[in-house]
């Protein structure tokens, strides 16, 4: 697995997200209140809304377009909604953040 450095923890606000530009589209990197970091595709399984722009609560995000809740750990929709968005492995080494490149590449295939 090829880990690529994408920046540091402090680049992302707590209970917030930043985007990662990739050839296949945006990936959203989330930081929770207790500094857990998750990466998922920046596309809501419902209508493709930019999840990185949603409100982060606990380990979930609410999509800004139609309020779907997405669990960051699994990428799955919460509650009665059905659907999932792909998750991408992230590693936190001290302050530094890394993302698994193969996972990104395999998505393009």
């Amino acid at each position: 697995m090829n880990w690529i450095s994408i920046g540091s923890l402090s680049d992302i606000p707590r209970r917030g997200a930043r985007c990662l530009a990739t050839p296949e589209g945006k990936v959203a990197i989330f930081r929770t209140q207790d500094d857990q970091v998750y990466a998922i595709d920046d596309q809501c399984p419902h209508r493709g809304g930019p999840l990185s722009q949603g409100i982060v609560h606990g380990t979930a995000v609410t999509c800004p377009l139609h309020n779907w809740g997405i669990l960051l750990e699994t990428g799955k929709a919460l509650g009665a909604d059905e659907g999932a968005v792909r998750t991408i492995p992230v590693r936190v080494e001290g302050e530094r953040l890394f993302i698994a490149l193969e996972a990104l590449a395999s998505r393009a295939a």
Binding site: D11, T22, H57, P64, L104
Partner: protein
């Protein structure tokens, strides 16, 4: 012809008596009430939450004016009866009204006991008895100065907690060694003292007040041991005595109270007495449950049922101070023939003590955890032999018989005659019976039909559990719709508690109000953020992560993830330079769509998020600021051309619109606010379907509000007519501030107005100049912190991270 019933006093006991009487013998009496207080019947038990700011007076009214009218009852407010003529059978008030009676009910209540120390009559010495006292205390509390409460009993501690919540530095003086010694044993009294002190209230026990001194008003309190405590307010809460002077003067038999038989009848067969002024079988009462029992008996007697009789009962005591759970019942003195069971959990601050005699409970003190109070009360009342469960008794009902620790099971296991509501003496069977028989599905209905949880409200949880047990899913606790899944509190409760407890951050709200999630959800966080911005404009640091994306980046998100940008055009007026700048921006950033909005603005759609700061920078060069088209705040003031151009225009509607917009831009509100000013009643600016609208007329400005033209369509209501532009602005600003302070998050003005009532809003904004001025000034104060252009802030670098990707990965150049 119906008989004439006159009632002296309009407290909770006679109020309840009338309810029973109207039910049992409707039309039998023509009722006249004289109330020395200038108001209707309200719930005196709830004065403490009013003092602490957790409730408003309007919320504790039992019978509003309409009730008296509907029931054809004459209520003389502010009339004190000064004489009863038993021969002529009349009563006379201090305003000279004389009213004849066939039956007379005396319900004059009690008067607070004043310790006759020197200085007890100085200005600044208050008692704690009625709404006037509470209002005087709240006024005194505004100084944030020092207060002394004399008396560490139930009332004194509630007064102290209330004054503390109002920001005063409070000292409680108590003459006995421990607090509430009549209801609590010393151990529980100690725990209570510690909890009171943890709130920042000082407690001095064994304190013997010697004098209150000061120059022309209260300055300090002196104790017998020489201690001097500075104070600008002294509240005496050392006890009450029956108010029986009037009866005595009329020659009615009086001992400690007005002596009545078990049917509430005095020695004059046409005169009854009930409530705190009455003495039955040598006892006088102060808690609401026995007083309501008296009301029931008196009503039955008046309805002709002479068998109705009052029976003495023990009543549990509860302290109504938020966060302190305390329950006391019966006799808990030690004795040779008594045993006790005690449970202490120091870490949790829990203390429980049961006093037993002959294997039966005779007294209970619970502190810190009171859920089993009802069960212990039931065991005591029924004289249940507890020897079988003695070892586990203290752990409560859920530990008996291996039953699970399920609060629902505990309630389900209660027998039908277990008392649920102590204030009103309502047992479980009566509640479940009413729910089934009358098909009740809301808490309000159950309260209306059974009175359960309708007084102090501390049994609300139990009543709700009974509803769930009885009707299951059909019970919709939406009577108070919780804000979201993270709390059981509704928006209004949360708003009130934020103020009452001075909560100034989202984590503080969640901690103090016991949120069930670690950091809320997408529903409650934006609401809390708004409430805190509104309530503490100077102290609160806006939490951008709790704002919806539009308010976080100051643009409107579109379905494809791009944004739209709407610059502010004051009053909808623009010019060539502005239009040229917009055209240049559209070209430069290849903005795919430009559209004119319904609020007279220009909207540029399809802008990439990364481009937003550059777009704003160019617009800023031309003098544009944010149009807040994304905000739960003031959006637009739409205008017509008014008297400057229009041949029908009566006033400068364009100028007023611009003035309002420049004054109010940047303010956050519960939901969006759209306004309009039309220069004549032809109403070209469509002001009569706006949140706030103005119709100019020759004689001035007609202010409208609470219109809607969205999901709902609704014409505005008229607030009133004012003569000048200055007045129009002041009224509109005050109205908006009232809405800002009371509205629930996402509740538009028309929904808020429906909830509060148009007449009440008119009263506060049109009729009450002081209130209007205060609203206006609070708005002006908060604008000091709100009127910062968010676009120029971001052009200058604020929240940079929002507008650029964190990194680019996987591209060819990045991989090399």
């Amino acid at each position: 012809m119906s008989e004439r019933l006159v009632i002296i006093g309009n407290g909770m006991a006679p109020g309840r008596m009338l309810e029973h009487l109207l039910e049992q013998a409707p039309g039998r009496y023509t009722v006249t009430i004289f109330n020395a207080e200038p108001r209707v019947n309200y719930d005196r038990i709830m004065l403490s939450p009013v003092l602490s700011g957790e409730k408003a007076y309007e919320e504790i009214i039992i019978h509003g004016d309409g009730w008296y009218i509907a029931n054809n009852i004459t209520l003389y407010k502010g009339h004190k009866i000064v004489a009863i003529d038993r021969t002529a059978k009349t009563v006379t008030s201090d305003h000279g009204v004389t009213e004849p009676y066939d039956k007379l009910v005396i319900a004059t209540g009690s008067v607070p006991f004043i310790i006759p120390v020197p200085g007890h009559d100085l200005p600044g010495v208050l008692t704690y008895r009625d709404l006037d006292d509470v209002q005087a205390m709240m006024l005194a509390a505004q100084s944030r100065a020092k207060a002394v409460v004399i008396g560490g009993g139930l009332l004194g501690l509630e007064a102290a907690a209330g004054l503390n919540a109002q920001g005063m530095d409070v000292t409680v003086l108590h003459v006995m060694p421990t607090l509430m010694e009549r209801q609590l044993d010393p151990a529980a009294g100690y725990l209570l003292q510690r909890a009171v002190e943890q709130r920042g209230i000082k407690v001095i026990t064994k304190a013997n007040t010697q004098a209150i001194t000061g120059k022309g008003k209260v300055g300090q309190v002196e104790l017998a041991d020489g201690t001097i405590i500075p104070a600008t307010l002294v509240v005496m809460a050392v006890g009450i005595r029956p108010n029986s002077a009037l009866a005595k003067q009329a020659g009615i038999a009086v001992n400690r109270g007005i002596v009545v038989d078990a049917g509430m009848r005095s020695n004059d067969p046409d005169i009854y007495a009930l409530g705190e002024c009455a003495e039955v079988d040598g006892q006088v009462y102060g808690l609401v449950a026995p007083l309501y029992e008296m009301a029931r008996v008196a009503a039955s007697q008046l309805a002709g049922n002479e068998a109705a009789a009052f029976v003495h009962m023990d009543t549990p005591t509860k302290l109504k101070v938020t966060g302190i759970d305390l329950f006391s019942l019966g006799d808990f003195a030690e004795g040779e023939d008594r045993q006790e069971i005690v449970l202490r959990d120091a870490a949790a601050g829990v203390y429980k003590r049961l006093v037993l005699k002959d294997d039966r409970i005779i007294g209970t003190v619970l502190y810190g955890e009171t859920a089993d109070g009802a069960w212990f009360n039931d065991l005591k009342k029924k004289q249940t032999d507890i020897s079988e469960m003695r070892d586990t008794l203290i752990f409560g009902q859920s530990y008996q018989g291996g039953a699970p620790l399920d609060p629902m099971a505990a309630v389900a296991a209660l027998p039908d005659d277990a008392e649920i509501c102590g204030c009103n003496g309502v047992c479980k069977g009566k509640i479940t019976g009413a729910i089934t028989a009358k098909g009740l599905t809301s808490l309000d209905d159950v309260r209306a039909h059974t009175k359960a949880s309708a007084s102090c409200g501390s049994c609300t949880g139990l009543v709700e559990k009974l509803m769930v047990l009885t009707i299951g899913d059909k019970y919709n606790p939406a009577a108070v719709q919780p804000m979201c899944g993270c709390t059981t509190l509704g928006h209004d409760e949360v708003r009130r508690l934020i103020k009452a407890k001075s909560l100034k951050t989202i984590p503080a709200v969640m901690q103090e109000l016991e949120w069930t999630t670690s950091c809320g959800c997408a529903k409650c966080r934006p609401a809390l953020n708004y409430y805190l911005v509104c309530d503490w404009p100077d102290d609160y640091a806006d939490d951008y992560q709790s704002r919806f994306i539009n308010e976080r980046v100051h643009a409107n998100i579109q379905k494809d993830g791009t944004y739209s940008v709407v610059p502010r055009m004051w009053g909808g007026v623009t010019n060539a330079a502005e239009l040229r700048a917009i055209a240049d921006v559209v070209d430069k950033f290849e903005i795919p769509m430009v559209k004119v909005t319904g609020g007279q603005r220009i909207d540029m759609l399809g802008i990439r998020k990364e481009d937003l700061p550059a777009v704003w920078a160019d617009l800023g060069q031309a003098g544009f600021v944010s149009g807040h088209a994304y905000a739960k705040g003031l959006r637009t003031v739409k205008t017509c051309v008014g008297s400057d151009w229009c041949r029908f225009g009566t006033q400068d509607s364009t100028g007023l619109g611009i003035r309002i917009e420049k004054f109010m831009w940047g303010s956050w509100t519960p939901a969006k606010v759209k306004m309009a000013v039309s220069g004549c009643p032809r109403n070209c600016a469509e002001a009569t379907c706006k949140d706030v609208g103005v119709i100019c007329v020759d004689s001035g400005y007609e202010i409208h509000f609470a219109g809607a033209a969205g999901l709902d369509i609704k014409g505005t209501e008229v607030l009133g007519l004012v003569r000048t532009e200055d007045e129009a602005l002041e009224h509109i600003v005050a109205l908006t501030q009232m809405y800002r302070e009371q509205g629930r998050y996402l509740e538009r003005i028309y929904k808020w107005a429906k909830r509060i009532g148009i007449p009440e809003i008119k009263r506060q904004i049109m009729d009450d100049g002081d209130k209007r001025k205060a609203f206006y000034e609070r708005f002006v104060f908060s604008q000091k912190f709100a009127q910062v252009d968010p676009w120029s802030e971001r052009v200058s670098g604020k929240d940079k991270h929002e507008f650029r990707p964190m990194a680019s990965v996987g591209f060819a150049q990045a991989a090399e």
